[in-house]
């Protein structure tokens, strides 16, 4: 746990979600452990933001207005600068097959809501074995 925390303490993480509450929960936890968090309420906003920053990881909801998580992922994967950035789906779509679909689409990890505050960091680190040191 403490090893995982130390890993992301200097990270810059983009959290994309149309639900303010969801953004706040995740942001509060990540910031508590020392990460720098950027917010966007949909895919389009996220893309705008990504023109100016290159985060260490992106946590994105899937169902969002204007541009959803799938389209966002597709746009990110088109950008050479962002190819190495892990994109994690953080979604309330927890039905069977959803995770497989997400992984197949190219999400680096698939976390379902409600998240566990206690294990969020550990889950992230476990699901992203290729995280840069």
């Amino acid at each position: 746990m403490s090893e995982a925390i130390s890993r992301i303490s200097d990270w810059r993480i983009l959290v994309v979600d149309d639900e303010m509450d969801s953004i706040d929960v995740v942001t509060e936890v990540l910031e508590f452990y020392g990460a720098t968090v950027y917010n966007a309420s949909n895919g389009l906003e996220a893309l705008e933001l990504l023109e100016t920053i290159t985060p260490d990881a992106i946590l994105s909801d899937l169902s969002m207005p204007k541009m959803d998580g799938w389209a966002l992922l597709a746009n990110i994967r088109k950008n050479e600068r962002l190819t190495a950035v892990p994109v994690v789906a953080l979604t309330a779509h927890a039905m069977a097959g959803d995770e497989q679909r997400g992984k197949a689409a190219g999400f680096s990890a698939y976390l379902t809501k409600p998240i566990s505050v206690i294990t969020l960091i550990q889950d992230l680190v476990d699901q992203l074995p290729g995280l840069r040191q």
Partner: protein, 633 residues
């Protein structure tokens, strides 16, 4: 296409055979009686005809016989009359006894003989000879002085008055037929014989009378002497003085009387009547060629045969026509049936006649109509079913979509509730008092319970929607059991219960199945068992059941389930009663989910329980072995 072709060929085969059968039946039925009638009438006609011929020939023979016998009697009478007067007898006996050399006496006797000859037609000459056989007087002067001692009739003429068997003179065709009359003197002593030579044409004239005998009928006399003919043959090229043989001739000369069919002397089949004439020692033959005798019969037979053939032909034609008339509507019906089978439901059989086949056609049309209606209603049903299926599919899609949305929409606020609660509890937002801490944990527990409920509900809905795919992957039951223990141990410990896990050594080390689902079902049973047990222990046992199934048995020492409740504890939202629900919490969906999971994996679940002592839940699952293991086993 193949089906149709074979149907067509079989159709032709059966029609041909039906027509042939009917025709053959007609022919047999009509020709047999005709043939029998012709046969029996022929038999009868033949018998009648033969009898007729026989009667005719027999009558002819009898007639000839009578004629000859009358003639013989007449001729003998003529000779008797010649010596009827006493004076003439005396004159004759004197002449023979004393004056044989007296020319005057000879002249007187000769004159008597000549007078006598003139008075009758039976004899062509008369002569008298003495006991030495010397002719002493004769109507023909050249006869006088000849000796008759070597003549065939001489010996006989000394014995009695007689007619003698005819004979030919040596080396000539002159036929001799001699009648003799003894000359006896006053002392009763035989002194000589008077003889008359009969006209040799008389017999021929008799035989030439062939009235009623047709073109080939003839009568003739045959001599015992060398089988010579005594009367001429009716036919050219058959001289009298030749030996003739045939069955009839031989029999008559053997002294037999009778009638027979045989090959005649001309080498032609004849029917003949033969008689033996003992007076003349000759055979009398009456013969007619069979060809002529039976000509009428043969004509009748031919006429009969023609009639029979004509009748047979007519019946064959009539039979064929009838057969065609029977078969054609059937053929038409067959074609309509084929059209119907090919899908043309508008086809109807033409009703040609109001008979059984017509009735068949009517029944067929009714059937076709009903078939049409049935097909229409069937199509309607299919259409309705299609719509219903589409609607059901749509409803199912909507249901899935609804479930997905529900899940999503319920999780989103729960995410915030649980998230913020955990942030608070983790002290990320600063320290809290013990009271606050306690209330936070209450919020957290209830949020978790709500989440479990949502998860269970979705699980159940997914299973019922048939949206659960069961995996068949190798897994180790022993590892599974220990994994489950690791997860459930802490819960049991919290309740102060022991958790015992047993794995039957007989159980295969590797099985095929959906380990995730099995784990889910087992954990449901275990958490129930722990929930309803206050003290004692809970046991999880995996049994190899010897054969096709294996068992997961969860036993507790809990409150037990009353018998009436055993029926519905697997139903959704049912616990034993309302009190239980409140006392033990839970969604009430665990057992329903467990049973559904067991069933979609091809197994089932059962329970036995005693109130106050505990319950035993048993999941049975089919044994499915990985192929390589199966091969070894």
């Amino acid at each position: 296409m193949i089906n149709q072709a074979s149907m067509q060929s079989s159709r032709f085969r059966s029609l041909t055979s039906l027509r042939t059968t009917l025709t053959a039946a007609f022919v047999v039925l009509s020709v047999l009686p005709v043939a029998a009638a012709v046969f029996f009438s022929s038999q009868r006609i033949q018998a009648q005809s033969q009898a007729q011929v026989n009667t005719l020939l027999d009558a002819a023979a009898q007639n000839k016989l009578d004629t000859i016998q009358n003639w013989i009697a007449g001729s003998q009478q003529t000779l008797r009359i010649a010596l009827a007067h006493e004076d003439d007898v005396i004159e004759m006996t004197d002449f023979l006894s004393f004056h044989k050399d007296d020319e005057a006496a000879r002249a007187a006797v000769t004159k008597n003989l000549t007078d006598l000859l003139a008075k009758q037609q039976d004899f062509v000459s008369l002569f008298v000879y003495d006991l030495n056989g010397e002719i002493v007087a004769a109507t023909d002067p050249v006869d006088v002085g000849k000796f008759t001692k070597t003549a065939p009739y001489f010996e006989g003429s000394l014995v009695a008055d007689s007619v003698h068997p005819p004979f030919y003179n040596v080396g000539s065709s002159d036929l001799n037929l001699i009648f003799t009359r003894q000359i006896i003197d006053e002392q009763g002593k035989l002194v000589g014989v008077m003889a008359g030579r009969a006209n040799p044409n008389t017999l021929a004239a008799f035989m030439a009378q062939r009235a009623g005998l047709g073109e080939t009928g003839e009568t003739y006399l045959v001599s015992l002497e060398s089988n010579y003919f005594l009367t001429p043959s009716r036919f050219e090229g058959f001289p009298q003085r030749r030996s003739y043989h045939s069955e009839g001739i031989n029999r008559s000369l053997a002294g037999e009387d009778g009638l027979a069919s045989y090959v005649g002397y001309r080498d032609v089949p004849v029917i003949g009547v033969y008689r033996w004439l003992p007076d003349l020692q000759v055979g009398l033959m009456v013969e007619e060629d069979q060809a002529e005798a039976y000509a009428a019969l043969q004509q009748t037979q031919r006429a009969n045969l023609i009639a029979a053939v004509v009748a047979a032909l007519i019946s064959v034609i009539a039979g064929s026509v009838l057969a065609i008339r029977i078969v054609r509507p059937i053929g038409a019906l067959t074609r309509v049936t084929q059209a119907l089978a090919a899908g043309d439901l508008t086809q109807r059989a033409a009703i040609q006649a109001r008979n059984e086949i017509g009735d068949l056609g009517i029944a067929f049309n009714q059937m076709a109509s009903q078939l049409g209606e049935t097909l229409q209603s069937l199509e309607k049903s299919v259409q309705e079913a299609r719509v219903a299926t589409a609607m059901a599919r749509e409803a199912n899609r909507l249901k899935s979509e609804f479930l997905s949305t529900m899940s999503h929409e319920l999780r989103t606020p729960l995410n915030a509730i649980i998230g913020f609660t955990e942030i608070m509890m983790a002290g990320m937002s600063g320290p809290m008092s013990e009271k606050q801490q306690h209330k936070m944990s209450r919020i957290h527990l209830n949020s978790k319970r709500l989440l479990d409920l949502i998860n269970d509900l979705l699980d159940l809905a997914k299973i019922e929607a048939g949206r659960v795919d069961v995996l068949y992957e190798p897994f180790a039951p022993r590892d599974l059991a220990h994994g489950i223990r690791a997860q459930m141990e802490s819960l049991a410990e919290q309740r102060g219960l022991g958790l015992v896990v047993r794995v039957d050594p007989q159980l295969p080390t590797v099985l095929l199945g959906d380990a995730g689902r099995i784990e889910q079902a087992t954990k449901n049973l275990l958490s129930n068992a722990i929930k309803f047990t206050k003290e004692g222990s809970v046991e999880l046992a995996l049994h190899a059941n010897g054969g096709d199934v294996w068992e997961i048995v969860v036993t507790d020492s809990g409150i037990g389930i009353p018998p009436h409740a055993l029926e519905y504890i697997f139903d959704e939202f049912r616990q034993v009663d309302g009190t239980s629900q409140r006392a033990y919490g839970g969604s009430g969906l665990g057992l329903a989910i467990t049973r559904n999971l067991s069933r979609i994996m091809g197994g089932d679940i059962r329970v036995t329980s005693t109130v106050g002592q505990g319950s035993t839940f048993t999941i049975t699952l089919p044994v499915s072995l990985p192929e390589e293991l199966e091969a070894v086993a």
